[in-house]
């Protein structure tokens, strides 16, 4: 039920967002507005407008004040957006029927992956730059990148998961970084203000609408607002979207903050491409992989329209950008590339591949629940190919194969993967794999009843075990599974978390409670060294006149269970 309302909310958010600017075109058709004119002509007009606004910003002090003020507002809104996202990051274990997995909210809750992506990003920032940037990963299976005027670059797990190497990812990050470095958000505000003034000068409101609609239809990247909202609309509507996103509250994690999809204009994109190219090359990543990146993304987008072009812009633009990248590789940068090839470019570090196994697993699971089957299948197949000891990756890979597989081979593979999930599940957490394996075995001719009952029994027992352990497990950090992996990596594969000694904690609370109730001075000397030393400051700080209500343990985060 909750999931359904979340999906509805997502739809509302999505419709209010500029990514769905295509809706504008439909509306235009209905209202009988003129569709786009010649794209090249529109581009010229758009650039003329941009030139006009930029000139005005430099020469007209009043205009400049207005722009600066509006930009400050944008930055404020972006800071708020970043703040909201940073302060509501969380993850928790969820179960739906026989599945058990970890939901990530707002930021992908994997410190090592976050740190790794940020480090790739920081390598790309030009050393002479005084701007501070941060690169963060958001949990969303849709490939998206988002840049804020604060200097924050967000990339979605979906985007990272379809990028085939660290070099290609570096290019994506560098491109987004370039929008920050080149102050494109400010350019946006200048353009917006300039457009308004320009329209006033023309004193033709209707003409303005037509003009804007034309730009949108041309797909020049200006098509970001709903019709009539003007160029500034893209920012306003985007922020409306974000507010709406916030008001929806605690919807299922990765839908909470829909990224701002901003389609920069061609000049801005070209400038960002140029800067990204240099940055990637300077960081010794292989720019020759850029056309491959575009090819891969187009291919994925062709298979599943939802994967979309959040990062790339329009299909036609991608082709232009791909051509341009090829030109740069064969032309302007050829000598530098050849020189660097002597030592070789980094394509992917071992660490990157290793972390991609985790990220692709998590994104594959999100994609699975979003019915993005192709992406789920590819992500999870990659995850198990990189390292084959991850039960959750095997389990969800099997699930997606079983769900969308058509051939006997698919079915066979699904069964193999359920088996591998059972085998790798040393902590008895993937109880669903026992159930599915049993069901698949039951379809064999002359199936072994003993084995089937064993598997069914394991499913029920492990499920119950989780339910019993649940209360204790909730007190542990949500990224416990990551800690298990580190423990294994550093040598203690059998490590289990130790629950705190509840008696000692309760004794401590009782002590605090007694002190608070009687409002007596803290006992001196403390009756027991451990409880006393810790209890003293707390009891001293207790507010006067506290009632006799016993002090309670802090609330424990809730595990969501859906049946």
């Amino acid at each position: 039920m909750r999931f359904r309302s979340a999906s509805l909310a997502t739809l509302v958010v999505a419709l209010s967002l500029p990514a769905f600017g295509q809706l504008g075109k439909i509306k235009d058709k209905i209202s009988g507005k003129q569709p786009a004119e010649d794209p090249a002509k529109n581009q010229l007009r758009y650039e003329a407008l941009k030139q006009y606004a930029t000139d005005k910003y430099q020469k007209d002090l009043n205009f400049r004040d207005d722009v600066d003020q509006a930009y400050e507002e944008v930055m404020r809104q972006h800071s708020q957006r970043a703040y909201d996202r940073n302060t509501s990051v969380s993850s928790y274990i969820a179960t739906v029927r026989e599945d058990r997995w970890r939901i990530h909210e707002n930021l992908y809750d994997n410190l090592v992956v976050q740190d790794h992506i940020n480090r790739i990003g920081q390598k790309l920032v030009p050393p002479e730059s005084e701007r501070a940037l941060a690169f963060k990963v958001i949990p969303d299976p849709t490939p998206l990148a988002e840049t804020l005027s604060t200097g924050t670059v967000y990339v979605s797990t979906g985007l990272i998961s379809i990028v085939d190497s660290e070099s290609q990812l570096a290019y994506v990050l560098a491109h987004e970084m370039a929008h920050v470095m080149l102050d494109h958000w400010k350019e946006r505000v200048i353009l917006d203000a300039g457009q308004k003034v320009y329209a006033d000068e023309q004193a033709a409101k209707q003409a303005r609408f037509t003009f804007i609609a034309g730009l949108m239809g041309a797909g020049l990247g200006a098509a970001t607002g709903l019709p009539g909202s003007g160029i500034g609309g893209r920012i306003i509507s985007a922020n409306q979207g974000s507010e709406l996103g916030q008001s929806i509250g605690n919807a299922v994690g990765f839908f909470l903050y829909k990224p701002l999809i901003v389609n920069w204009d061609q000049v801005e994109e070209d400038a960002a491409d140029d800067m990204a190219f240099k940055a990637v090359l300077n960081a010794n990543y292989d720019v020759r992989e850029v056309p491959t990146l575009y090819t891969t993304m187009l291919k994925v987008a062709t298979r599943d329209a939802r994967v979309g072009l959040g990062f790339l812009g329009s299909r036609r633009r991608v082709e232009q950008r791909m051509e341009k990248a090829k030109d740069l590789i064969a032309g302007a940068y050829k000598a530098e590339i050849d020189a660097k090839l002597k030592d070789g470019f980094l394509s992917s570090s071992a660490e990157h591949r290793n972390l991609m196994a985790e990220l692709k697993r998590d994104n594959g699971i999100m994609a699975y629940y979003s019915d993005m089957f192709e992406m789920a299948r590819k992500n999870l197949a990659d995850a198990v190919a990189i390292r084959d000891n991850d039960p959750a990756a095997h389990y969800y890979y099997a699930k997606v194969l079983k769900l969308v597989g058509r051939t006997a081979d698919d079915e066979k593979l699904a069964r193999d993967e359920f088996y591998k999930a059972v085998k790798a599940d040393t902590r008895d957490e993937n109880f669903g794999s026992h159930l599915h394996l049993a069901l698949m075995m039951a379809r064999d001719r002359g199936a072994d009843k003993n084995q089937i009952t064993q598997e069914l029994d394991a499913y029920v027992t492990d499920y119950a075990k989780l339910a019993v352990e649940d209360r204790i497990m909730r007190s542990f950090p949500p990224n416990l599974e990551t800690i298990y992996e580190y423990m294994t990596l550093f040598g203690d594969s059998g490590w289990r978390p130790k629950p705190p000694d509840m008696r000692a904690i309760e004794a401590e609370y009782n002590l605090v409670n007694t002190a608070a109730t009687t409002n007596a001075p803290p006992p001196l000397p403390p009756p027991s060294s451990a409880a006393g030393s810790k209890g003293t400051p707390a009891s001293a700080a207790a507010p006067k006149g506290t009632t006799a209500t016993p002090a309670k343990l802090p609330p424990i985060p809730v595990i969501v269970k859906k049946q």
Partner: protein, 515 residues
């Protein structure tokens, strides 16, 4: 008709031309610690010095032309995915994956076997075409299967090799009979080292070897309280070789942990694979070998007839094997003994795009439908892992036979390597394969498989090294390894995994009492 052909001809020429222009991807392996030149697919068997493998590079030449991204290149060692221990770089002629001590830190488990490793690379380009290549890395040096060998490299000499000791005496563990307090034995051999001034310690005595290669002889007294005799050679740079020779003491042995319950055997032998077009060629002796073994188990090793299931030829279909491996194997309880023996063919899938797959071939195996007619190794593992409850299980494969024609795998067949790895991490299970990776099972002049011949002789009592009238798995496996290696002139070396054999747990489990 002609008109149609004319229309299609230019198209055909166009496509032929397009494919012809694309340079194929060549995959090379570099082992910079051992060799300067790379190995391509035509040199897939590589003998490496006995030293830990800490550095490795894999090159995919012309990868850029085929739009091969590094994220789509995967590597396995002995069947385990290890792509996460390679950095990948793009170089002028392609892509290079490299592994070093630092990147290996991602996998704390022991990835490489000290004796033999099968390395597989599979790359998929953006059109879905697959490129596969494999190599076998085998440690050089002649080892006596009864002794334990260990080489240690000094940190001060990272490129060093441990000294090599070739023993000519003793060739088997020395035996102290009941009532015999001690014995004097001669330890003879040759010590070879690239860093002379080797201190050679034989038991309590120390000799010094001054030249690069020198013979030695030393008399040593062994006593009943000694479990083993240790020979240790340390060269001038502190590289060390250790050989541990077990001492067999009869008479006062602690009782060995035998399987105390019933004995079960599942014996499979498939000579005939069906009459369908394209069926696997017959394998004349397999069914007879299985019959011989089943008979010997009954008459010489105390297996009850009811507890032996023999599946031969058309009785060994995929379903029959499944039922045998699941139902029958499940009969053996924790303290029982279970022997599974399979003589037949295992197939390393020769079809392009499927080269990473391997199957055990039952009767009726069809190449185009391997998934449903053959038993993938994972199936085999799944069936057995779910059914086996017994703590004393011995799985013996004589399946690495040569095959010609369409079924021939265009590279070294890795079936023995993978079968060995499948069960190696399982407690209480021992696996014995008829050969090592890339080797084929050889036949004796009378047509019987050399491996099965020595296996049956071993079970009949010849493998009972310490003459305690119990053939342990340890004794049997070492006996078979030694005899088959000797008979084949080193072309076929059986390989085995005995769990915790150093801890003496499963080693004492009896396969069969000698007559």
């Amino acid at each position: 008709m002609i008109k149609r052909a004319v229309v299609h001809l230019p198209l055909l020429l166009f496509f032929t031309g397009a494919f012809a222009q694309e340079a194929p991807i060549r995959i090379q392996l570099l082992l910079p610690e051992f060799f300067e030149t790379p190995f391509s697919g035509d040199r897939s068997l590589i003998e490496v010095p006995e030293r830990p493998i800490n550095r490795m590079k894999i090159r995919l030449l012309n990868s850029a032309e085929r739009n091969l991204s590094t994220g789509t290149i995967n590597v396995w060692v002995n069947g385990s995915a290890i792509s996460n221990i390679f950095d990948s770089r793009n170089v002028a002629d392609g892509t290079e994956l490299s592994m070093d001590a630092a990147t290996m830190g991602k996998r704390p488990d022991q990835l490489f076997d000290p004796r033999e490793n099968a390395l597989e690379v599979l790359a998929t380009d953006n059109r879905g075409r697959k490129y596969y290549q494999s190599w076998i890395l085998r440690t050089t040096g002649t080892h006596n299967p009864y002794f334990a060998y260990q080489g240690t490299i000094s940190p001060e000499d990272p490129k060093g090799v441990p000294p090599d000791i070739l023993l000519t005496s003793p060739l088997a563990p020395p035996v102290l009979k009941a009532g015999q307090a001690s014995a004097r034995i001669a330890v003879k051999g040759t010590c070879t080292s690239s860093n002379p001034a080797v201190a050679l310690k034989i038991g309590a005595q120390t000799l010094t070897i001054q030249s690069r290669s020198e013979g030695f002889e030393q008399a040593v007294d062994i006593r009943r309280d000694m479990k083993e005799l240790v020979i240790e050679a340390t060269d001038g740079k502190q590289n060390r070789r250790t050989i541990v020779i077990p001492i067999v003491v009869q008479g006062n042995n602690a009782p060995k942990p035998h399987a105390s319950g019933a004995k079960y055997a599942l014996v499979v032998g498939i000579s005939n694979y069906g009459d369908a077009k394209g069926a696997l060629p017959p394998l004349p002796q397999a069914a007879a070998d299985a019959g011989t073994l089943a008979r010997d188990l009954e008459t010489k090793a105390g297996f009850r007839k009811d507890n032996i299931r023999l599946l031969r030829d058309d009785a060994a279909t995929r379903d029959a094997l499944r039922i045998g491996f699941s139902d029958f194997a499940a009969k053996a309880q924790a303290d029982d003994l279970l022997v599974i023996y399979v003589a037949g063919r295992a197939v390393h899938d020769p079809q392009p795009g499927n080269n990473e797959k391997m199957y055990l071939a039952p009767y009726g195996t069809q190449m185009k439908a391997m998934g449903s007619t053959a038993v993938s190794f994972l199936d085999l593992e799944m069936w057995l892992n779910q059914s086996i409850r017994c703590n004393h299980t011995f799985i013996i494969f004589d399946v690495g036979h040569e095959v010609e024609g369409d079924w021939k795998f265009p590279g070294p067949s890795l079936v023995n390597n993978h079968l060995l790895s499948l069960f190696s991490d399982q407690k209480g299970r021992a696996v014995l394969t008829s050969g090592s990776a890339g080797e084929v099972s050889l036949a004796r002049p009378d047509g019987q498989s050399s491996f099965t011949y020595w296996l049956t002789r071993g079970i009949a009592g010849e493998a009972d090294l310490n003459q305690d009238h119990v053939v342990t798995a340890d004794e049997l496996f070492r006996f078979v390894e030694e005899k088959v290696r000797e008979e084949s002139g080193g072309r076929q070396v059986p390989n085995f995994k005995l769990p915790s054999r150093n801890a003496e747990q499963a080693v004492g489990d009896s396969v069969a009492p000698a007559r």
